[in-house]
């Protein structure tokens, strides 16, 4: 299988955006309990806007692999059965939650929602919702591939884990760069996690490569044509050679 380039751009770019948002959210949560120094609302708002930019860019690029992008809205209809449909719902959900998060941080909205008497409760609530939606989006993106059971290389929980870890690693890396520029006190936190996530991603990606190298094929040429003989060779692909999916 050769996924279209636009799909590769989509998953890479939204991974960065999602990871960056998770980085901002975690540092903001830490700052509420005074583990990390708090930053002004505009810091989170601008960071959130960068994350949103990546998601929007990914979404726009993903349209290029569609034969009929003008009908793309229909793709939200089969969420009951299709992980692709679920991903297409999760993506705008994440984008709108990040947009609300940006707005709340930019305007420094706050209220004592839970009676804790601490600042930052609105941002924390919106951030938590956004983070949950982000994890959901990682799950959907991974399951689009992991749910195709015939492609044994993909049909594994490692696929989902890889999307999550690689996306988060790239997002935390970007967060480290952003913090180095805007909030140096947070750089170490982001960079530390970026290293941990990258190493974890290296491990899980290596695990899936090893798994793929040792895969035992469920189907064989014999079961594909139902002829029981040790030696079967395909000599011709049929009329006019291959179709688009064998090229």
């Amino acid at each position: 299988m050769h996924p279209a380039f636009s799909v590769i751009f989509l998953t890479t770019l939204i991974g960065v955006g999602q990871g960056l948002f998770l980085a901002l959210y975690s540092s903001q949560t830490y700052s509420i309990v005074n583990v990390l120094p708090a930053q002004p609302g505009s810091y989170y708002a601008i960071g959130g806007a960068i994350a949103l930019g990546f998601l929007v860019a990914g979404l726009i690029l993903s349209f290029f692999h569609l034969g009929h992008p003008e009908r793309a809205w229909r793709a939200a209809s089969q969420w009951r059965t299709s992980w692709l449909s679920r991903e297409i719902i999760a993506l705008p959900l994440v984008m709108s939650l990040i947009a609300v998060y940006i707005l709340a941080n930019w305007l420094e909205l706050d209220a004592d929602l839970y009676g804790w008497g601490m600042p930052g409760q609105v941002a924390l609530t919106l951030g938590s919702l956004g983070a949950a939606a982000n994890l959901l989006l990682f799950l959907c993106t991974g399951m689009v591939y992991a749910a195709v059971k015939f492609l044994q290389e993909w049909a594994s929980p490692l696929t989902v884990l890889n999307y999550f870890l690689l996306g988060s690693a790239s997002g935390f890396t970007l967060a480290a760069a952003y913090a180095a520029y805007q909030a140096p006190a947070l750089t170490e936190f982001y960079a530390g996690w970026a290293i941990i996530l990258t190493l974890a991603a290296l491990a899980t990606r290596a695990a899936s490569l090893i798994r793929n190298a040792r895969l035992k094929r469920i189907s064989t040429l014999q079961s594909a044509i139902g002829v029981r003989h040790n030696k079967v060779q395909q000599r011709a692909m049929g009329m006019m050679g291959g179709s688009y999916n064998t090229r």
């Binding site: 009908r71 229909r74 089969q78 189907s219």
Partner: protein, 241 residues
């Protein structure tokens, strides 16, 4: 419930591609058409075909056998291409089990072609939608065609009658009997897709003759044992004695 399907006899197919060309002709001129051709007269032609005859070589030379293997969408009873489609363009008809694509809904994301383990889905590069065998749905119900010709184009055109068409859920249908009596099998049953199309295996036609069949055991005159001396210059008359 009805499940229409094809049954293809590999023992009879000679790999002439008549089904391929008639399929293309019917469908390119019908509801599924036009079917894209890329570089048809060039060195490396390709295009959209609902039915392809692949060729396999089984065994090691010189003890080889060539198997012509016609393949199109198998109209799986548990079609994996249907639930993955995000738009609902791919669907399986309740009334006759035919798996179809609604070309007005398909966005051409190609996800279904990843989900079909048989490689039966054919993307039309011109119309940018997914297509595949429709079991000639625009032909088999056409009341303006004489009843005995309301069959898929490939079935009608096959010069060796290697292709049968019918309801595999009806135990008395021609296809069910053929599957039952000739060891019909589905492709890649290990995935649980339950393909509706079946294949009839290659069979060796061997004549087994027993001694009793040459010499009649209950022949009182033992006529068969009587041999006549034949001289070197025997004529035809000698043989007829």
């Amino acid at each position: 419930m009805t499940q229409l399907a094809l049954v293809i006899d590999l023992n009879v197919c000679v790999g002439c591609h008549a089904c391929v060309t008639s399929c293309k002709q019917w469908n390119t001129s019908g509801a599924a058409g036009p079917m894209f051709d890329d570089n048809p007269y060039g060195a490396d032609p390709t295009g959209t075909f609902f039915n392809r005859v692949q060729t396999y070589e089984v065994g090691e030379f010189p003890c080889t056998e060539t198997i012509h293997f016609p393949k199109s969408c198998l109209h799986c009873e548990d079609a994996p291409c249907v639930p993955v489609c995000p738009t609902g363009a791919s669907y399986k008809r309740k009334e006759d089990g035919i798996v179809l694509v609604n070309y007005d809904k398909c966005i051409g994301c190609k996800y279904c072609s990843w989900a079909c383990p048989y490689g039966a889905r054919e993307f039309d590069e011109k119309q940018k939608v997914m297509k595949k065998c429709t079991l000639c749905v625009d032909r088999i119900y056409d009341m303006s065609i004489p009843e005995d010709r309301r069959k898929p184009a490939c079935v009608i055109s096959c010069p060796t009658s290697a292709r049968l068409f019918g309801d595999v859920h009806d135990p008395e249908s021609e296809v069910s009997i053929a599957i039952r009596e000739n060891g019909g099998y589905p492709l890649m049953p290990e995935w649980g897709t339950k393909p509706a199309n079946h294949y009839l295996p290659r069979r060796k036609t061997k004549l087994r003759i027993h001694e009793d069949e040459l010499v009649r055991a209950d022949n009182p005159l033992k006529k068969e044992d009587i041999r006549h001396e034949v001289s070197k210059d025997a004529t035809l008359d000698d043989w007829l004695m």
